[in-house]
Amino acid sequence: MPLFLDPEQEMLADTVRPFIAETAPVAHLRSLRDAGEPAGFSREVWQGFAEMGFTGVLVDEAHGGLGLGHVEAGIVLEEIGRNLTPSPFLGTAVGAVEALRQADEAMQVAWLPGIVRGEVVAGLALDESARHRPERVALKAERHGNTFRLSGAKQFVPFGHEADLLIVSARTSGSEADEEGVTLFALPRTQAGVTVSAQRLADSSMAARVALDGVELDGSAVIGEVDGGRAVLDRVLSCVRAGAASEMQGVAEGASAMTLDYLKQRRQFGRVIGSYQALQHRAAHLYSELEVARAATLKAQQSLDAGSDTADREASVAKAMAGMASGLAVREAVQMHGGIGMTDEYDIGFFMKRQRVLAEMFGDTDYHADRLARMEGY
C-alpha cells in the first residue's frame, strides 16, 4: 500500500474539511469556553458528526457504521485538531469502538449503534496517576460467581463526566505491575457506585476523575476474556495514540497556517517579517518536521488497518514524533506572533493549549521514546 491517501480517502478529506471548518471552527471553541459550558463540548456538533457518519467511521457496516479504518479516522481527527473542535471523538469513535470491536456480538449490539447514531459518548478510563502508566492497573475487580465488584479510581478521562459508557481497565488477578490479570469492562456511567468529577483543563476541555466504590457488573460487561484484557488494552492504546497524533497534526498545521499568514502580513522595520531569513529557516525546519510526523502517523494507521505486528511500535513512534513536531509548531507560532499571540483575544494561544493536552494524553514523547527503547531491547 503506498504511503499516501488513496482517492477515496482524499475524497473523504475533501468532505470532512469544509464540514468541520464550518460547523465547529475555532470560534466555536471560544464561544463554548466563554460560556463556561459544563459539558466542554457541544452535543449538537456531535450529532452533526453522527449524521455525517464520522462517529461510525470505524464501526462495521453490520452495526450501522462506515466500516472504514484508522487512516479515515485520522482524517477526521486531523480536521478536529485543525479547528480545535472540542469533541469526544477520539475516546468514543476510536478508543471505545476499537475496544468494543474486540467484544462479543451482544455487547457490540448494545453499544455500537448508539455510538453511530451520536447518542452515546464514551470515555476511556485507563490511567490511575497523573502520568500515563496504563501498564499499571491497580483498580480491583473482585469476582463472585458471575459478578464483578469494581473498586478504585481512574483519572484523566476526557469528557468522562458526560460519558454514557466508560471503558475501564481493572485488575482481576495478580498485582499492579503484572502483565497478566487485567480485564477490560464496559461500564455504564450511571451504574451505582460510580462517582465522576470533572476538571476543566487548560484548553477548556473537560477531563474526569472516576471513582468506583464496589460497582457491580456481571460477565456481560467484560470485553474479551477475563484476565486477558492486556491485548485489547494494547490495541486500544495503539489506536488512540495514532489518533491523538493525527489530532496533534491538525493542531500543528492549523497553528502553522495562521503563522505563515501572519509572517506574510506583519511588517516590522519596514519589511514583511516573513522575509527575514532567520524566520524563514525556522519555518522551513518546522514544515519538514511536520511532514515527518505526518508520514509516521499515516504509517502507523495503515499498519493498524492492515493488522501488521509493527503497528504497536509505529503508534509509539507516531505519538512521540507528532508530540515533538506539534510542540515545536505551537511554540514557534506563539513566538513568531509576538505580543499579540500572548493575548486571549487572539486564537493562537488556543493551539498551544490544545497541543499540550494532546501531547500528554496516552503518553508524551518521553514516555514513548522510553517505550520504544524497551521494545527494542535497550
Binding site: R200, Q335, G339, D344, E345, G349, M352, R356, M361
Partner: protein, 394 residues
C-alpha cells in the same frame, strides 16, 4: 578588607535572622506572593508589611543606591554578601519594583538633582509604584516608529496616544513613558516623560492573556498635561535613556532563568513522577532532559553572577544585557516546559483547587511572553550579532 567583609557578613546574617519574619522565608508559591508596594497596595499579610518596613528603614530595598537618595550605600562587595545571605536564608524579596530595577538606574544617570530627590526615596520605600510605557500597537520590537505624541505647549507638553503591554498600569501610581516630541526625526525625536497616572486624561484597560491573567494593560492618553520639568534627560534624547533602561530591564527579566523561587525542577518532578527501583526519577527520558537542563541552569546561574559582577565593575559590553535577556528567558521557557511534562495530566488542570487554580499551566503560558516582552529573542540575537560579533548589515 576581607575581615571587614566577614564581619559585615556575620552582622548581616544576624540582622536578617532577627528581622525577617519566618513567613517571609518560605518559598513564594505564585505571583500572588510578590509585594509590589505603591499607594493602593494591600499587604497580603502582616509579615509582608513588616518585612518591607524593616528593610526600607535599613535602606536595603536598594542596598547599593547612594544614601542621599534612600539607598543603603553598600559597596559592590557588601551588596553581593547581602544577596548571598538573603539567598542562603531564603528570604523573599521585600519589594518587587520597576522603579528599582528600571527607572532608578536611569534617574541616577540622567535625572536632575530635584528629580532624584523627589522620586528615588519613594521608590526605595515602596511608596510609589511605577509602570513603563514603551510599546505601542504598531511599534512592538520597533520603537523607532513610536506614535504617541507630546506637543510643546510652552510650560507643558500635551500628550495624546496609546500604549500597550504596560505592565500593571492599572495598579501603578506613576508612569515613565516614551513619547514623540519631533515628528520629523525617527529615534532622535523621542523624549522620556514621567507623570502621575492620576493626571486627567490617563486611562487603562487590562489585556487578558492566554494564561487567563491580566498583568498588562492598554494605556490611553487623552490631552494629558505634563509639566516640562518631568522630562528625564534632554528633550528629543529619550532614546538614550530608553536604551540604558532597556539594558536594566533585560537584566531583570534574564534573572528569571536562574534558580527560580520555590522547589527546584528536580524536586517538583520527583513529587510527581516518583522514583524507580534504583532511586532515580521514574521516567528515564524526562530525567535525562531535566539533567541536561540542570547543567544549563547551573551554568546560567554562574553566568548571571559573572554578569552582575562585571556590571558593577563597569567591564561588561552593553550588548551583553541582550545576551542575558535571551538566555534567561529561553531557559525559563524550557523550565516550564519540563515542569509541565513532569506534572502530567494534573499540571493541565486550570481551575481545580488541587492545582492551585491552574498555577502550573498558567505560569507555563505566562513564561511564553518572556522571550517577547522587553525585546524579542530575535531582536536580542540581532543585537548580539551586530554589536558584539560585528557582523555586517544585509
Amino acid at each position: 578588607m576581607a575581615d571587614d567583609l566577614e564581619q559585615f557578613r556575620r552582622e548581616t546574617r544576624a540582622w536578617l535572622e532577627e528581622n525577617c519574619p519566618p513567613e517571609m522565608r518560605e518559598p513564594m508559591r505564585s505571583e500572588k506572593d510578590v509585594c509590589w508596594g505603591g499607594r493602593t497596595w494591600t499587604f497580603q499579610s502582616e509579615a509582608q508589611r513588616r518585612w518591607l518596613a524593616v528593610m526600607a528603614e535599613r535602606c536595603w530595598t536598594v542596598p547599593d543606591w547612594p544614601r542621599e537618595y534612600g539607598g543603603g550605600g553598600l559597596s559592590p562587595a557588601e551588596a553581593k554578601v547581602l544577596r548571598q545571605e538573603i539567598a542562603s536564608l531564603g528570604c523573599r524579596k521585600p519589594l518587587e519594583s520597576f522603579g528599582i530595577s528600571m527607572l532608578g538606574p536611569a534617574l541616577l544617570k540622567y535625572g536632575t538633582e530635584k528629580q532624584r530627590l523627589e522620586h528615588l526615596p519613594k521608590i526605595a520605600r515602596g511608596e510609589i509604584r511605577w509602570c513603563q510605557g514603551y510599546s505601542e500597537p504598531n511599534a512592538g520590537s520597533d520603537l523607532a516608529s513610536l506614535a504617541t505624541r507630546a506637543e510643546d505647549r510652552g510650560d507643558h507638553f500635551l500628550v495624546n496616544g496609546q500604549k500597550v503591554w504596560t505592565s500593571y498600569a492599572d495598579q501603578a501610581d506613576w508612569i515613565f513613558c516614551l513619547v514623540r516630541t519631533d515628528a520629523a526625526a525617527k529615534q532622535r525625536g523621542i523624549s522620556f516623560l514621567l507623570f502621575d497616572m492620576e493626571t486627567p486624561g490617563v486611562s487603562t484597560k487590562p489585556i487578558r492573556l492566554i494564561s487567563g491573567n491580566s498583568p498588562f494593560c492598554e494605556t490611553f492618553f487623552d490631552d494629558v498635561v505634563v509639566p516640562k520639568d518631568q522630562v528625564l534627560g534632554a528633550v528629543n534624547d529619550g532614546w538614550s535613556v530608553a536604551k540604558y533602561l532597556l539594558g536594566h530591564e533585560r537584566e531583570m527579566i534574564s534573572g528569571m532563568g536562574g534558580r527560580a523561587l520555590g522547589p527546584s525542577l528536580p524536586e517538583r518532578a520527583l513529587r510527581r513522577a516518583g522514583r524507580d527501583a534504583e532511586g532515580r526519577l521514574d521516567d528515564p527520558v524526562l530525567r535525562a532532559r531535566i539533567a541536561l537542563f540542570e547543567v544549563r541552569s547551573h551554568a546560567f546561574a554562574a553566568m548571571s553572577e559573572r554578569f552582575m559582577d562585571r556590571l558593577k565593575a563597569g567591564s561588561v559590553h552593553p550588548a551583553q544585557a541582550s545576551m542575558m535577556k535571551y538566555l534567561g528567558t529561553e531557559l525559563n521557557k524550557d523550565r516550564h516546559e519540563l515542569l509541565m511534562a513532569a506534572g502530567g495530566s494534573e499540571a493541565l488542570e486550570w481551575e481545580s483547587e488541587a492545582s492551585h487554580g491552574g498555577a502550573a499551566a498558567r505560569a507555563w503560558l505566562r513564561s511564553k511572553a518572556n522571550s517577547i516582552e522587553g525585546g524579542t529573542s530575535e531582536i536580542q540575537l540581532n543585537i548580539i550579532a551586530k554589536r558584539i560579533l560585528e557582523l555586517p548589515e544585509a
